[in-house]
């Protein structure tokens, strides 16, 4: 087990280095001179520009820049943004909000996705199943921003059940609707995955054997079908956590949530390169660790997986 985790951590290193190098390249090199973009119409005072270039090592070769940045990263020094604010502070403000939002979304998609998927899988081809199959297709097909607007308008403005925007007021009540919107596509995937998996397990030989033992249908479904069907679903949910955090840009924009997505989007627009690089890096790390967690979870859920 320890060796397995060790090996997985070792495998993560090249992925981490590669991904950060790629991000750093996209933000700092691909864009040309990030400082030049800063001044806007009037251009920056040359002395200030030179100072900034010095500070961000922009007059060094690209790889040296990257390594110096990486060195800072390893000591949890994310640097300062062009506007002078430590990037760490920027992130400390944004991440807790997005983490809360992601968990609301995860909770929604897990609970409803599994519940509906289970019933659909057990009644494959019946009305309930067909209805939700269509619902899931529509949810996948309609872009999340359209769902967002519509819900914001209907639930928030017209019906007034939930606050239409979040702003500075971050709590479960305000995050509920954005969370559902953010998790809507994944809800459809969880539903479909659970449905397929349940329907497949229902025809498995071991389920027939369990029935032949004299177990009631209820017990067969809960003990033998559900547990086995949840293995791929849990794997999906784990991997999705990383995706939810990185994919919150649109949702956070619509509901005006001061989270990672919003901050990042504005940083990109304002060419705040140091902030962009650091935030994307943290998101990538969340993704990589979520995947490691999924692998371990998988091994815990399925005794057949050996740590080799």
């Amino acid at each position: 087990m320890a060796w397995y985790i060790g090996r997985r951590l070792l495998q993560m290193i090249p992925v981490f280095l590669g991904a950060t190098l790629l991000i750093y390249f996209m933000v700092f090199a691909l864009a040309g001179d990030p400082i030049a973009a800063l001044g806007g119409e009037r251009g920056l005072n040359p002395a200030v520009a030179a100072q900034l270039r010095e500070h961000y090592h922009l007059n060094q070769p690209f790889l040296v820049q990257y390594l110096l940045w990486l060195k800072g990263l390893l000591t949890f020094d994310f640097g300062t943004s062009f506007s002078g604010r430590p990037v760490r502070d920027v992130m400390a403000g944004a991440f807790p909000v997005t983490i809360q939002l992601a968990f609301v979304a995860l909770f929604f998609e897990a609970v409803f996705g599994i519940a509906v998927g289970l019933v659909s899988g057990l009644r494959k081809g019946k009305l309930f199943d067909s209805t939700f199959l269509i619902v899931s297709l529509v949810v996948i097909a309609v872009p999340v921003f359209v769902i967002g607007f519509t819900m914001q308008f209907l639930v928030g403005v017209k019906l007034g059940w939930l606050p239409p925007t979040v702003g500075g007021n971050v709590n479960i009540r305000t995050l509920l609707m954005p969370g559902i919107v953010l998790g809507s596509v994944s809800f459809a995937y969880v539903l479909r995955l659970t449905r397929t998996s349940v329907a497949e397990n229902m025809t498995a030989d071991f389920v027939r054997t369990a029935t032949a033992k004299g177990l009631t249908r209820r017990r067969v479904v809960t003990v033998h079908v559900l547990r086995n069907s949840l293995i791929p679903v849990v794997t999906f949910l784990g991997a999705d956590l990383g995706g939810l955090m990185g994919g919150a840009i649109v949702t956070e924009g619509i509901f005006n949530i001061p989270g990672v997505g919003n901050t990042l989007y504005h940083a990109i627009q304002q060419s705040e390169a140091p902030t962009v690089v650091s935030m994307v890096t943290v998101l990538v790390m969340v993704y990589i660790f979520a995947n490691l967690l999924v692998d371990l979870l998988y091994a815990a859920l399925d005794p057949r997986i050996r740590y080799a």
């Binding site: 991904a19 996948i140 097909a141 872009p143 359209v146 990042l264 990109i268 962009v276 998101l283 993704y287």
Partner: protein, 315 residues
């Protein structure tokens, strides 16, 4: 217990009329030959969902190719005087805030979405299938290397990466930059699926048999492995086509996709946001067209998956 006490278990044999044997091992020589693709087609053609999605896809493609067939109104001609005007003759969907004809914009918006969807899918399938096939078939260190590279691109969320790069391309955004960006960050999924499919096929007996015949490794990969691994790739590609259309719309919605000079559903949806309260139809038409397009590709993917599923076919 003596057998005689069991009248129901005497030696019994059926009439000798049971059709026997020889025909068990004969071929119906009159039936047309049925390859796997032929079989898949047979099961597809009886499914309404296939015909519905095929019709929709065809319609969208035709609209994208020759929008003039469907409207004579110029989508970029806008007259502020007709801002938010209701539907009228020749303008079935009414006008948006700038006074542009919504119907014409919806029709012309198809081209951007469909072009991006199809081109991106081609890029992604070529990149992903090559990397996945090589990794899966040759294995060992080669697989480790390619899989790590796949992981790197997989670890960066598609939309996030696209936003960062599109911001860089601020001055020359067009359909091709969007395709390149989505393609470069979208291939890992196909690569993983291809790799898995190739790995499950490469140990089949018919591959071993071909090797024993003297068929070379590369020929084996191209002639035997890839055709048998094609089904999941086709299915994933069809579904991804829809997903890429959504991604393009998302970028345009965020204002960093296609430039405003190109009519696109994503940008129109973004513009409609402000008017949602009073004029829901402004949002409804582009969003509906987008959703219907994506839906038809996803439904097609589902239908093809069912038709190609070996488990469903056997028995």
């Amino acid at each position: 217990m003596p057998e005689t006490s069991r009248p129901t278990q005497m030696h019994f044999f059926a009439d000798l009329d049971v059709e026997i044997l020889e025909q068990v091992d004969t071929v119906d020589e009159t039936a047309p030959p049925a390859s796997l693709w032929h079989d898949a087609w047979q099961s597809l053609r009886v499914r309404p969902i296939f015909w519905v999605s095929a019709f929709l896809i065809l319609l969208v493609v035709v609209v994208a190719a020759v929008p003039r067939l469907f409207t004579s109104t110029d989508p970029s001609y806008c007259d502020l005087m007709s801002s938010y005007n209701p539907p009228g003759p020749g303008h079935p969907f009414g006008f948006d805030r700038q006074g542009c004809d919504i119907y014409a914009r919806t029709i012309y918006g198809a081209r951007a979405s469909v072009t991006v969807g199809i081109l991106t899918t081609i890029v992604v399938v070529v990149l992903g299938a090559v990397v996945g096939a090589l990794a899966g078939f040759y294995g060992k260190w080669f697989d480790s290397l390619l899989s790590r590279i796949t992981d790197i691109f997989f670890a960066i969320p598609l939309v996030l990466a696209a936003i960062v790069v599109m911001q860089v391309f601020a001055t020359h955004r067009n359909v091709f930059t969007v395709v390149v960006v989505l393609g470069v960050f979208g291939w890992p999924q196909i690569a993983r699926i291809t790799r898995g499919a190739v790995m499950s096929v490469k140990n089949a007996d018919f591959i071993t048999a071909a090797t024993a015949l003297g068929v070379s490794r590369s020929r084996n990969l191209i002639r035997h492995v890839m055709p048998n691994a094609a089904a999941p790739i086709i299915v994933t590609a069809t579904v991804s086509l829809g997903i890429f259309i959504v991604a393009e719309a998302t970028l345009s919605f965020l204002g960093i996709g296609l430039p405003t000079t190109i009519v696109s559903w994503g940008a129109d949806i973004a513009k409609a946001q402000t008017a949602l309260r009073s004029q829901p139809s402004v949002l409804f038409y582009p969003a509906g067209a987008l959703a219907l397009t994506v839906l038809s590709f996803i439904m097609m993917g589902d239908a093809v998956r069912d038709a190609l599923d070996p488990k469903a076919r056997k028995r």
